[in-house]
């Protein structure tokens, strides 16, 4: 089953829409019952989106939701999603894929902050850039992403994969400040550059193929390694020593100044 949600033009397109109801499983029942919050008002989903449904499905895995039009302010899409697929044709708002445990989200444009926050499983693929806190834990949370696969083809903002506790995060572009801070487990790969990675790391593996600025002095150099794909020579660091951490960072090039 394909559910096509086309965003209707809005009088004020800057008012955020909280749409935790947009998960594939929810469309096994009639879409009329779904509400979204536009600002502080509850509105039926059909007020904000034109809904077109093609075909049928017996379970959530057989449902594909397609978001069209301006969805850059639509938040919490795919929250707690367990199966099925969501395809976003343009940009998506904050908190896309919160807590998702299965299924797949594909974003053709950019993603706003908190993409895949605290996700437990499933896959997210973002073809554009992701904003801050991609794959991280919410403020005050001890565990960020715990499982699953999150890939961003463009750049990511600050605090990418903060509190990472499992799963895999791949950023093809650059990251902002402090990626992988408080990392506990899982793997984080940054193909581009970043600054001050992995502070307070206690476990897991981080690989950075660009240049690290402001490398933290609390990581101990522990030999070199060769990256299998591409044959790039990397330096291995262990730490964060300040936290008696047992994490590993592989870095191609670094400087201690910011």
């Amino acid at each position: 089953m394909r559910v096509i949600l086309s965003a209707r033009p809005r009088k004020n397109p800057f008012i955020p829409v909280e749409a935790e109801g947009i998960v594939p499983a929810r469309f096994l029942q009639p879409a009329e019952g779904i509400t979204v919050a536009v600002g502080n008002r509850d509105r039926p989903l059909t007020d904000v989106f034109e809904v077109a449904i093609e075909g049928t499905a017996t379970d959530a895995a057989g449902v594909e939701v397609v978001l069209r039009g301006d969805t850059s302010r639509v938040k919490r899409v795919g929250e707690y999603m367990e199966a099925g697929k969501i395809r976003v044709e343009r940009d998506i708002g904050m908190h896309c894929g919160n807590f998702m445990s299965g299924g797949e989200i594909e974003i053709l444009g950019n993603a706003d902050g908190w993409l895949g926050r605290e996700m437990r499983g499933g896959r997210i693929l973002c073809h554009g850039n992701a904003s801050h806190y991609c794959g991280s834990g919410y403020r005050g949370e001890k565990h960020g992403m715990r499982g699953g696969y999150l890939e961003v083809k463009g750049d990511a903002g600050d605090f990418t994969a903060e509190y990472l506790a499992g799963g895999e995060v791949i950023i093809h572009g650059n990251c902002g400040d402090m990626p992988g801070v408080e990392m506990k487990a899982g793997t984080l790969t940054i193909m581009g550059s970043c600054s001050r990675p992995c502070g307070n790391m206690t476990g897991g593996t981080c690989t950075i193929l660009g240049t690290v600025a402001g490398m933290l002095p609390t990581f101990r150099r522990a030999g070199t390694a060769m990256r299998e794909s591409g044959g790039i020579s990397l330096t291995r660091f262990e730490g964060d020593v300040a936290n008696r951490g047992k994490g590993t960072i592989f870095i191609r090039d670094w400087q201690y100044t910011l």
Binding site: D42, Y138, R139, G140, E141, K142
Partner: protein, 566 residues
Amino acid sequence: MTRLLIKNAYVIDPLNGIRGEVMDIAVKDGWIVESVHDGAEVIDARGCLTLPGGIDSHTHICGTKVNFGRYMMPEDMRAGRTQRRGVMHSTSGYSVPTTYGNSYRYSTMGYTSVLEGAMAPLEARHTHEEFAATPLQDTMANTLFDGNWPVMEAVRDRDVKRAAAIVAWTLAAVKGFAIKLTNPGGSECWGWGKNVKCIHETVPYFEVSPAEIIETLIRANEMLRLPHSVHLHCNNLGVPGNYQCTIGSMDLAPDLNPDRQSLYLTHVQFHAYGGTSWKDICSRAEPVAHAVNRKPQVTIDMGQMMFGKTTTMTADGPMEFNLYRLHHNKWSNHDVELETTSGIIPVYYSKTSVVNCVMWAIGLELALLVASPWQCLLATDNPNGGPFIKYPEIIALLMSRRYREEELRTLAPEALSRITLPSLDRELDWHDIAVMTRAGQARALGIQSIGKGHLAPGAEADIAIYPIRVDETDPSRQFRDVIRAFQKTSWTIKRGRPVARDGEILVEGTNKTVWVKPKVPDQYDMGKDPEFARNFDRYYTVRMSNYPVQELYLQRSLCMESEAQL
């Protein structure tokens, strides 16, 4: 303004000696009066238990540490969300809800006055700002003096009058209500990574002991003629074997005030542990309760612990660090310059934990073993022992032996040999509960004089009407009905206006804050004392002139003035 007539109410009003009479209550302009003329709004309370509005004498609902609890616990914020509806704001949170969440839930349970258990003077503004957003209760704030440098200097110099003068200036400046001592001396030690184990150890540099701080401030408190007594969170909280320290602290209290206690010990459940370690912890509620029974000058509150998820937050920084070492979960640690500390961690109290089962039993044992309900008040040290929404369950546990037995069967079996609860037959009656949830608090806090905690003409019209027929209910067997009734009032009346009906909030409301201003002779006015001002400007990071909380922070302000005898 409003006139209201509550008809056929079954009233228990301990402060006026009413032990259950059917009567009418007339209300005019927010106060209870002899009678009202026709045309008043009538509430028929037939078959309903009608009590003065509930008072919580120790809770943590407003201020910096509560707010930090909200900040560090997003999972708690996700629990218990309600949407905006009518006059109600949206709320969220379970153990540390938003201010409106606290206010609505208290009001639904019939509570109309609450005392914030610990306000750091330096951070008082934040507390008052949150009070302003707690519209349906009158609020008071205990003000922390446990590690206050000028006070400790006065204690070292054995100058009770100077200590009293500093307290007087600070209370009036920060719009506080009473003296709170949280682990006295221990918070200053924590600045050095240390703690005090009991009342006779010394604090570094100041060379004073917790016992000296407590004794001096009890006498200073009575010199200032403050409505409430010193409010003490004893040293060595939550450590097996700490009951002796608790009894030792009680022994420090002289009997100085004929109207109320001279020392209020809070959340005594956390201070009545026997044993030497977590492995052999056992209940020592019995000797503690007997000590209370021997001392009319002491009042305690239970600090009952209830199973489930909650957040612990206290100004006792070192204790929270010990908890952190047990749990290895989130921890917040905070220093308030020159004054105190604080710490926060989330906890889960489980029935499979022997320690938690013993803690649960100790609180109930204290309430059942203290002979006079006036001396043991009902509280959970919200949210440390459990969120206040558990009060109805505690009431039922105290009223029903059968309910206790039912619960005891679900506990970790090893706990049973370490507690005396299974052997206690006492079941409290409706009057005892009325004392432990409102009248006792009003007397202990000294706020009868402003019309709190009773229903005679002249009292403030704070009334809770619970949907339960006292004459037809046997709380011993029908404890579930008791829980249900105390969870949701039929009517909660605040300042003469119905504010909640069957769990629905009816009005927006405005908060009133009660604070104290002792009038001291000119030579004891710390605002004009050169040494105090010099040290203030030398050590604090704020200017003395910026320190006091302006009255505009208080929506409705009730200042209780007293003539200090210095």
